[in-house]
Subunit: 344 residues, 2 copies
C-alpha cells in the first residue's frame, strides 16, 4: 500500500505562522493520516522546526527551496523572478509526479498563479475556481461554495464550469449522491439577479453533468438544501470572510451574555464542556482551506493565519481530493462532453 | 407639538401576515412612539383587524385603497394597472404632503417602483439604494450597509452616491460623528476587487462629502470599524439574507449543544433568561427593515415575513428618518456639491 499513499507537498514557508505551525500540522498529519508529507522550503529552518515540534528528522522528507513570495509582491512577476521559491518548487513536485498535492498557507494569489503556470488548466476549463466547504444546519452535511475568490468577474460559462467541477467534487470526495447544485442569487425566479446570473441560469439548466435545482439565496447557503452553490469570486469571497467572522461574533455574544448575573456565572461553569462543543462547531479553523479546482493537480489554499490544526485539516482535504483523483474526473467529464457534442 | 408628529402611512395589506400583524405593529407604535399612523388598505379588513387587536377605531386613521400588488406580479405593469392598490395610495399620501413616510412589508420590488414613480428620485441621485442596519461587535454600534437589493449591477457613480447617502443617514439618524465609509471588497489594497470596485475606489477617495477609510472585507462588516459600507445590490442582498439566516444557525447549534448531558440540562435551565438575551441580540426581527434612500420621501421596506415587532421597529425607523429629514439633507448636499462644482 506504500505506493498508494498520497504524497503531499507542503509550502513550509507560507503563512503568518510559518514554518513552526505549518511543520507542526504536517507532522501531525503524517502521524495520523495515511499520507507522506514533503516539507518544501529552507532546510535549516524546517529542520529546526521539526526538532522544536518534537519530530524526528528521519521520518520527514525535506525538499530544499530558496525564498518565498511575500504578501506584498505582485504574484506573476515574483513567481518568475523567484523560480526556486517554495511555492514554485512545491508545484513542480506535482508536475514531475513526485507529489500528488500541494498545500500552501502563503500568498493565495501566488499559489493560484503558480498552479496555473506550473500545472496548467484542465482541458474544458476556462478559469480554475476556489471551492470552500461550509457546514450546514443538517448535522454532518456540508455545502461546497465556489468560487470564493479566484475570479472576481465571471462570465456565465465560467460559472457553468464551476458547477460541473463542484458537482464532481461533492459526489466523489464528499460522497453526495446526485449533488443538488444551486446558483447564488437574490431571488428564486430564473429571471432574478444580475446580468451574469440571469445568463447563467439557462446554461445550468442545460448542463447534462449536474443536477441543477435552481437559485439559492443568501439564506439558503447554510440550510442544507444545496450541496453545491456557484457564484462569482467576489460575492463568494465576501460571503466566506463574513461567515468566518460571524462565528466569532456569535461566540462573543455568548461569552458576554451567558455569564451575566449569579445564575449566569453558575450556569456558565456547569456548561463549560458544552460551550467548547459550540465553539468547535462554529469555528472555521476546522475547515482547513479552499480547494483550487480546474488545474491539473490538487492544490489546497489555506488561510494565511493557519495554525497547526488548520494545516492538518488542509492536508486531510488534499489527501481526499488526491485519493479520489478529482482532477482526472473533471478532465474525463469534459472529454466525454466534447465526444458527445462531436457525435462520437 | 401635534403638528410635528411624524405621520406614517402603513401599507396594511402588504406582507405574509397582513393585515393582522401589520395593524398590531402599527397600533403598538402609535401607543409607544410619538407618531400618527395611517392604515392604508381595505377598510373592512383593517377595521376588523383593529378590533381583533383590541384597538379603538377612534384612535386610528384608515385610508381606503383597493387591492394590492401580489408577490407574483411584475411590479411596473401591476402598479399601472392597479392605481388604487394600497402601496400606490400610501406613496401618494407622501407625495401630497399628507404623510411623512411609508412602511410596507409587501412586494419589495413594487414598493421601490411605486416610490420611484410617485415620489421620484432626488436630484443628483441616479439610483436609489436600500440600506440595512447590521449590529456590530461593539455594543450599541451599528453599521449601515447599502445597497442590499435595489440595484443588482452597479456603475461606480451609483456606489459613490450610495456612500454619500449612507454617510448622511449615519450622521443624522444614527448620530455618528464623521462616519467611516468602507467599500465592500475582497482585499485591503485599492487595486483589489472586481471591475466596479476598482473603479469606485478613486471616486470615494475624491468624494468631499464622506470620510472614506478604504476597503472593507467580509470579515470587517460586523467588526464595528466601519459605519457605512457600500456595495452592489447583488452582493449586499446575498450578505443580508445570509446574515439573517446565520443568527438562526448559531441559535440552532446552541440549542442542540447546550443541553447535552446532565450538566447541560441543569445549566440550560439555570441560563434560560441569559439565552433569551442571546436570542434577542442575534435575532434580525429587531431591525425592522431596509430604508430606501434617494427618493423624495421616506420609505421603509420591511420583510414579507414581518410580524408585529418588526412592523413596530420599521415604524420607528421611518419616524427617525422623517424626523431627521434625511431626504432633504441628501438633496441639499447634492445642491451644494453642484454649486461648488460650478464655482458658485
Amino acid at each position: 500500500m506504500e505506493s498508494n499513499r498520497a504524497r503531499i507537498a507542503i509550502d513550509a514557508m507560507g503563512g503568518d505562522h510559518a514554518p513552526d505551525e505549518v511543520v507542526a500540522g504536517a507532522l501531525l498529519a503524517q502521524a495520523e493520516l495515511d499520507v507522506e508529507v514533503l516539507l518544501v522550503g529552507n532546510p535549516e529552518l524546517i529542520e529546526a522546526s521539526v526538532k522544536e515540534n518534537g519530530g524526528s528528522l528521519d521520518s520527514v522528507k525535506i525538499v530544499p527551496a530558496e525564498g518565498m513570495i511575500e504578501m506584498t509582491e505582485e504574484p506573476l512577476s515574483a513567481l518568475r523572478k523567484k523560480r526556486k521559491a517554495s511555492i514554485n518548487v512545491a508545484m513542480n513536485l506535482v508536475k514531475k509526479g513526485e507529489a500528488d498535492a500541494v498545500v500552501s498557507a502563503g500568498h493565495s494569489g501566488a499559489a493560484m498563479a503558480a498552479a496555473l503556470l506550473r500545472l496548467g488548466r484542465l482541458p474544458g476549463i476556462d478559469r480554475p475556481a476556489i471551492g470552500a466547504v461550509f457546514p450546514t444546519l443538517i448535522a454532518g452535511k456540508q455545502v461546497l461554495v465556489l468560487d470564493v475568490g479566484a475570479n472576481v468577474d465571471c462570465r456565465p460559462n465560467f460559472l457553468d464550469q464551476f458547477a460541473t467541477m463542484g458537482s464532481i467534487y461533492s459526489q466523489d470526495v464528499l460522497g453526495t449522491e446526485s449533488p443538488k447544485v444551486g446558483l447564488l442569487n437574490i431571488g428564486e425566479e430564473p429571471n432574478k439577479g444580475n446580468e451574469a446570473s440571469v445568463q447563467t441560469y439557462p446554461l445550468l439548466e442545460r448542463n447534462p453533468n449536474i443536477n441543477f435545482v435552481g437559485n439559492a439565496e443568501g439564506r439558503d447557503v447554510l440550510s442544507g438544501q444545496f450541496d453545491v452553490i456557484v457564484c462569482d469570486g467576489f460575492t463568494g469571497n465576501v460571503l466566506l470572510k463574513f461567515a468566518e467572522a460571524v462565528g466569532g461574533v456569535a461566540l462573543q455574544i455568548i461569552k458576554e451574555e451567558l455569564p451575566r448575573g449569579v445564575r449566569g456565572k453558575v450556569g456558565a461553569v456547569v456548561l463549560k464542556p458544552n460551550l467548547l462543543n459550540i465553539k468547535q462547531r462554529m469555528d472555521h479553523a476546522e475547515h482547513g482551506g479552499g480547494l483550487l479546482l480546474g488545474v491539473a493537480g490538487v492544490c489546497i489554499i489555506s488561510h494565511g493565519s493557519s495554525k497547526a490544526p488548520s494545516i492538518f485539516n488542509a492536508i486531510r482535504l488534499a489527501k481526499e481530493a488526491a485519493d479520489h483523483q478529482v482532477s482526472d474526473r473533471i478532465r474525463s467529464c469534459y472529454q466525454q462532453t466534447v465526444a458527445v457534442a462531436n457525435g462520437e
